[in-house]
Subunit: 241 residues, 2 copies
């Protein structure tokens, strides 16, 4: 409820969202609820649209966008219909306009300061990942508990001691934290993030995190995907029909 306090009281103009939120809140009344499965596909459509914009394509049909993203076209139209009616019957969608509407819906028209904790191989890769910066995410802190990493430069940023966490979160108004530490450290990092005001956590550590209900957590597990592939691979060789 009263969660984003530190994220909105930023002194240096990074503070976000609330003015827009108030406006949007007035105009779109019934708190449109977009199904989780649809939300998860919006970034996929967005990337395909970015590609079309770069190609100079001005208009596309749901069929074309569906092919480009590997999604069923009826599903795609239904997904888009949750956002509003941004297409034109008989014509299709204006690429640039739809791109903007999806970006706005996801929140990518905001500025999202992010901290990454744990600058091992993975943290290093994440810090350099261009897909973050290009989508409104701004890395404002790389932190690691290992003293030997302090002040080393990674992706143009000096690594800082983990104990600077609270200070950076407060100064920059950080709402989103990324955990790329070993499993045993993850819960402690999450606790400190939450205490400092972070309300969304992206967890790469192989650990289940306990956080208050008001805090969003998503988990990426590299080995789980590989295991799911192995399961299907094994099934293929078992096919004796």
């Amino acid at each position: 409820m009263t969660s984003r306090t530190s994220a909105t009281s930023s002194p240096d103009g990074v503070a976000i969202a609330d003015a827009d939120a108030a406006r949007d809140g007035v105009e779109e009344s019934p708190v449109r609820h977009i199904p989780e499965a649809s939300v998860a596909r919006l970034p996929i459509y967005l990337r395909a649209l970015t590609g079309l914009v770069e190609q100079g394509t001005e208009t596309c049909s749901s069929e074309e966008l569906a092919t480009a993203t590997g999604v069923n076209s009826a599903k795609l139209r239904k997904d888009l219909s949750y956002l509003g009616s941004y297409g034109t019957r008989g014509v299709g969608y204006d690429v640039a306009y739809l791109h903007y509407q999806i970006a706005r819906e996801i929140g990518l028209t905001h500025d999202w300061p992010v901290v990454i904790v744990g600058i091992g191989n993975l943290g290093h890769a994440l810090a350099n990942y261009s897909g973050f910066r290009s989508r409104g995410f701004r890395i404002v802190g790389l932190l690691d508990a290992a003293e030997e990493l302090t002040d080393k430069e990674v992706a143009g940023l000096a690594v800082r001691p983990f104990d600077d966490l609270e200070k950076i979160i407060a100064e920059e108004g950080v709402a989103i934290g990324v955990i790329a530490t070993p499993a045993h450290a993850a819960q402690d990092v999450a606790d400190r993030m939450v205490a400092a005001g972070i309300t969304s956590v992206l967890n790469f550590a192989p650990a289940v995190l306990t956080v208050p209900d008001s805090v969003g957590v998503r988990k990426v597990d590299l080995s789980i995907e590989l295991q799911i592939l192995a399961y299907h691979e094994q099934r293929k060789s078992e096919e004796t029909s």
Copy 2:
């Protein structure tokens, strides 16, 4: 249908699965179909069980395992019931036994040689990721098109030119390939992998891959997860109730 040819004709004993498959095929008749959503949770249960084994816990209830994994206990029991009846009413599950059964179901009791193509930051992180090795995945090739990387040592393996792909796949009987290249190179890499006999692809590149139906593809997109978090983060600040 006739897909895994090169993966099974390996000359050096890496060839896998087929003997086991024949045996299993005889014993478990009706080609048990495990729902996709359940398959995706098996690795999560497996990890929790690994933790319990390490703690020396011998038995656990569905309730305990559910709490440890953040899953509803009824759902967990239903998931496990697809594998067989491995629990004891009134008692719970034998941790070591259940661990083995899940590992066997996923295929982690096999040896899975894997190649990684694209040794940038992410490929580097993947090569060093301990979660692969500890689960039966064995990295047998790190490949990159950039000549300046050739013969550099990463995770104890010399990086090899991309053109060695077919040779390594044939020699080692590789069925699973990991793509960690930039988006523009991903489809070409996938095509060459498939032509060389690979039947499962884990794709980290931000691109939609086109492969034959017989080839399994899973996609991990780091920025998509962050965008989904941003969506929910934005919704939190819009709550005007």
